[in-house]
Amino acid sequence: MRFLPNKTSKGMIMKVRVHVMLKDGVLDPQGEAVRHALGALGFDGVGSVRQGKVIEMDLADGTSEATVGEMCEKLLANTVIESYRIEVL
């Protein structure tokens, strides 16, 4: 494992952002509530709203995308209901 959480000196970390969303076909009642609220505020034409979460991590430089994928599969996302996308910043 190349994950070194204490290395924070400049140049030694990489920033990774993980986007977690409910899968298509999984009801998102919170997104629905936001859609209704936008309609109530007078914003027309809001067809659908999906709400997810964004997780930002400082990782040791060079941490492989496969390792980040493992983090997603084991903890950050529940792949029964959620999909994830990894973005290296």
Binding site: L22, V26, L27, P29, Q30, A33, K74, L75, L76, N78, V80, I81
Partner: protein, 221 residues
């Protein structure tokens, strides 16, 4: 017969579950989440309701990776019995011991009231009621909306693994499912709280029947 009740930071039904187990005649030991082994000779593991780890990330997600959970998985793999109630059900789905997941309630509200249930899937947990018997148990959850893909739901129904169904679906759960069994029928996860209906002072003793039958059957086994 010996039961363990797992305690996570944020568990709040652990004592109630222990009292219900004891009342049914089980010997109970509380087990802290940082322990790596269950006490010797445990027949049944109870995973209580509450808000383990503050429901951070997803309900049950952090607890599912706590040290004791590996021991609970090994216990289940050996054919041991386990009962997860409410947050305990969420933990069991997060570990993969039970299929599916619990989503936010369809109506977005936290629901705390007594609901009607029908006992179904054959198991040590439901035999005390008999198939088709209607009972009432309290629910108290924000994320109890059972979800699984269609193929999984079909499989659960075909294999008679739906232990309880809501008679009047309160939270949007797929096919009115309130509790599901593992493939070997020895692990049950359910959102309703039988331990909150297990004493005359609760005004409802429908839950006590679950524990009484469970303890009796374990003793006979």
């Amino acid at each position: 017969m010996k039961a363990a009740v797992i305690v996570f930071p944020g568990s709040n039904c652990d004592r109630d579950l222990a009292v219900a187990f004891e009342k049914a005649g089980l010997q109970v030991q509380m087990v802290w989440h940082k322990d790596t082994e269950l006490p010797a000779g445990i027949d049944l593991v109870g995973i209580p309701g509450g808000f383990s780890f503050g429901d951070y990330l997803r309900c049950g997600a952090i607890a599912a990776n706590a040290p004791i959970v590996n021991a609970v998985k090994a216990h289940a793999d050996r054919g041991g019995y386990a009962l997860g109630i409410c947050n305990g059900f969420q933990v069991l789905t997060e570990t993969g011991l039970l299929p599916g997941a619990l989503l936010r309630n369809a109506g977005l509200k936290y629901i705390c009231r007594t609901v009607g249930l029908r006992a179904e899937g054959a198991s040590i947990f439901t035999e005390g009621y008999g198939r088709g018997t209607e009972i009432a148990l309290p629910i108290a959850h924000h994320d109890g909306n059972y979800f699984a893909d269609e193929a999984t739901l079909d499989m659960l129904e075909a294999d008679d693994r739906v232990a309880f169904r809501y008679t009047d679906n309160p939270n949007g759960s797929a096919r009115d499912i309130a509790g599901v069994l593992s493939a070997n029928r020895r692990v049950l996860g359910m959102m309703p709280h039988p331990e909150r209906a297990s004493d005359a002072a609760h005004g409802n003793e429908d839950g006590a029947r679950l524990f009484a039958h469970l303890a009796g059957a374990l003793t006979a086994a």
